[in-house]
């Protein structure tokens, strides 16, 4: 079995994001970038499946600018066998990304495609579901547990009401939740080894997909600021303020 894992390079989750003064976007210069957190869970799960002997190859793919190679390289350092970078500049909407991934799926013919459930930059939560639609494959979104049963997967999904379990036939798409597993750190020897693993580079324009944005970003602004609150000295003062000032209890 072959698993393709899509990974995205995003602003690190610990960075306090700042809006550009000209309101065209957020500041990305000199800002720490990392793998989108739930994509780390997707890689981890694929590598674990390979280690258990149920998969033979894990291929990491990313779409983005040249530097997204670092994100692919990180996936190789935690156990992916080889990488693919689809080079494209500018804003890429999930629809465009899913069409590019569709081309890679048609070429690589994986049995499973894993990715994070949501990217923490645009917060769209679309790509996995869109890729499933384009391929007409089953989708298991927000996965917190995956069990492989022959040519099927049993997946536990985190939903608003609690948990849901579905059974999907392979080939399939799984989008991973943060609770699926605990992503490992890359060891130094593995980082060194990853440097020797191949990364194939493909230009998005060579894949015959129109990636031009369909959504015009008119402006990006700071959200309204909350006005600073007060520190209370005691529980009694807190309760008094909630009752008499805020009038919420």
């Amino acid at each position: 079995m072959k698993i393709l894992v899509a990974v995205k390079r995003v602003i690190d989750y610990n960075v306090q994001v700042r809006v550009k003064e000209d309101n065209t976007g957020v500041v990305t210069e000199n800002v720490k970038m990392s793998t989108n957190p739930p994509d780390d869970n997707a890689i981890e799960e694929a590598v674990k499946i390979k280690e258990s002997g149920k998969a033979t190859e894990v291929v990491a793919v990313s779409v983005g600018e040249e530097k997204a190679q670092e994100t692919v390289r990180k996936a190789l350092a935690v156990g992916a066998d080889r990488g693919i970078l689809i080079k494209a500049d500018g804003i890429l909407e999930p629809l465009a990304v899913s069409k590019l991934l569709q081309k890679i799926v048609e070429k690589e013919k994986p049995d499973l495609v894993f990715m994070g459930k949501q990217a923490i930059d645009d917060d769209c939560n679309q790509t996995g579901q869109m890729l499933s639609a384009l391929l007409n494959w089953p989708q298991a979104t927000f996965a917190s547990k995956i069990e492989i049963k022959d040519k099927k997967l049993e997946v536990t999904r985190e939903i608003d009401e609690g948990l849901e379990t579905i059974e999907i036939n392979i080939p399939a798409i799984v989008t991973c939740d943060l609770r699926l597993n605990e992503p490992r750190y890359a060891s130094l020897p593995n980082i060194m080894k990853a440097k020797k693993k191949p990364i194939e580079q493909i230009n998005a324009s060579d894949l015959g997909v129109d990636t031009s944005p369909r959504i015009e970003q008119i402006k990006v602004e700071e959200p309204p600021k909350r006005k600073a609150g007060v520190k209370v000295k005691s529980v009694a003062e807190l309760v008094q303020k909630l009752k008499n000032e805020a009038k919420v209890i």
């Binding site: 629809l95 579901q129 989708q139 849901e164 059974e167 990006v220 609150g229 520190k231 009752k243 805020a246």
Partner: protein
């Protein structure tokens, strides 16, 4: 052209956020139709027809719609979408799972999780966990939009009498089978719509200590929330998680206990009307959004808080 709203329901009743989605959809175009897909969902369809903003209900029934599998729902909606300019539903796990499957089939770039309708094609949406707001304009001929339910008021729920039309079901998608759903039943208000939310974080130190959160919630008739750290640590189940990848809540009162206030948690609660933080670390980021901050050991402060609440005789029920 008109708007098609996808109703969320449990085959008997509408899910409360359907009313918020109706409000949002009606702001895109007042010619608003609603589709309900399910199995023996006639009662829910009738309730949908009673919403005054809904002009027509389309009911699609089949056994394979019983459990809301997106792979079964999407083809029906894609077919119906021929007659509409917009397809709309809530950005909760139901809509997040379903809408991109519809959008890709329509070759539409979806606009997710909008918090404001500026015009029929222009919307406001938070990005980067709510640290920036983007104004975006969809250039696609058909628009697929998910809305953040807590950013729109629920619509009027009675007085309407829209016609209910039946539409043909699509074929079953055989590669996905529903197995089971484990819903956590509770007598408390729902987290997404509760007037008061009491949340615990890693500072609770154990699942057992969450009893303190429960006691406060009992006093205030509140829903119980949690930070991702508390859910990851196994103190409480995932359906309580508030934050960027959990639920977004906008209660009148949000009480954060033992929560440091990571960016990802703030994304889910910072629009609350009044925020209270109880934390022993005076530098914790949660204090930057709190209207009332109490720097104290929660294991001393929370029992006192419960005692003080006991003294009040104006407890909201």
């Amino acid at each position: 052209m008109s708007v098609l709203l996808v109703a969320e329901h449990n085959n008997k009743e509408l899910k409360p956020f359907t009313l918020n989605a109706v409000t949002a959809a009606s702001q895109m175009d007042t010619d608003l139709h609603a589709v309900i897909i399910g199995n023996n969902c006639g009662d829910a369809a009738k309730k949908l027809s009673e919403l005054p903003l809904v002009k027509k209900v389309i009911q699609v029934e089949a056994a394979h719609y019983e459990n809301f599998v997106a792979e079964n729902f999407a083809p029906v909606i894609v077919k119906l979408a021929e007659n509409y300019s917009h397809v709309v539903c809530s950005a909760n796990t139901f809509g997040k799972n379903l809408m991109p499957r519809i959008a890709a089939s329509l070759d539409t770039s979806q606009v997710s999780d909008i918090i404001k309708v500026i015009s029929a094609d222009t919307f406001l949406r938070p990005i980067y966990a709510g640290n920036a707001f983007a104004t975006v304009k969809s250039k696609d001929p058909k628009k697929c939009i998910t809305i953040r339910p807590t950013s729109f008021d629920p619509c009027e729920s009675s007085g309407g009498s829209a016609p209910i039309e039946k539409a043909e079901p699509s074929e079953e998608f055989n590669n996905t089978k529903f197995v089971k759903r484990e819903e956590i039943k509770s007598d408390r208000p729902e987290l997404g719509t509760a007037r008061v939310v009491v949340s615990g974080g890693r500072g609770m130190q154990s699942g057992d200590n969450f009893k303190l959160i429960t006691s406060v919630a009992d006093k205030l008739n509140a829903a119980i929330g949690a930070s991702r750290a508390a859910v990851d640590a196994g103190y409480i189940s995932n359906d309580h998680q508030v934050g960027q990848t959990g639920k977004v809540v906008v209660p009148d009162l949000y009480i954060a206990i033992g929560i440091s206030g990571a960016i990802q948690h703030l994304a889910g609660m910072k629009e609350s009307k009044v925020i209270v933080a109880i934390n022993k670390d005076g530098e914790a980021p949660i204090f930057s959004v709190a209207d009332y901050g109490l720097e104290a050991d929660l294991f001393e402060a929370v029992p006192q808080f419960i005692e003080e609440l006991n003294k009040l005789n104006t407890i909201q029920k």
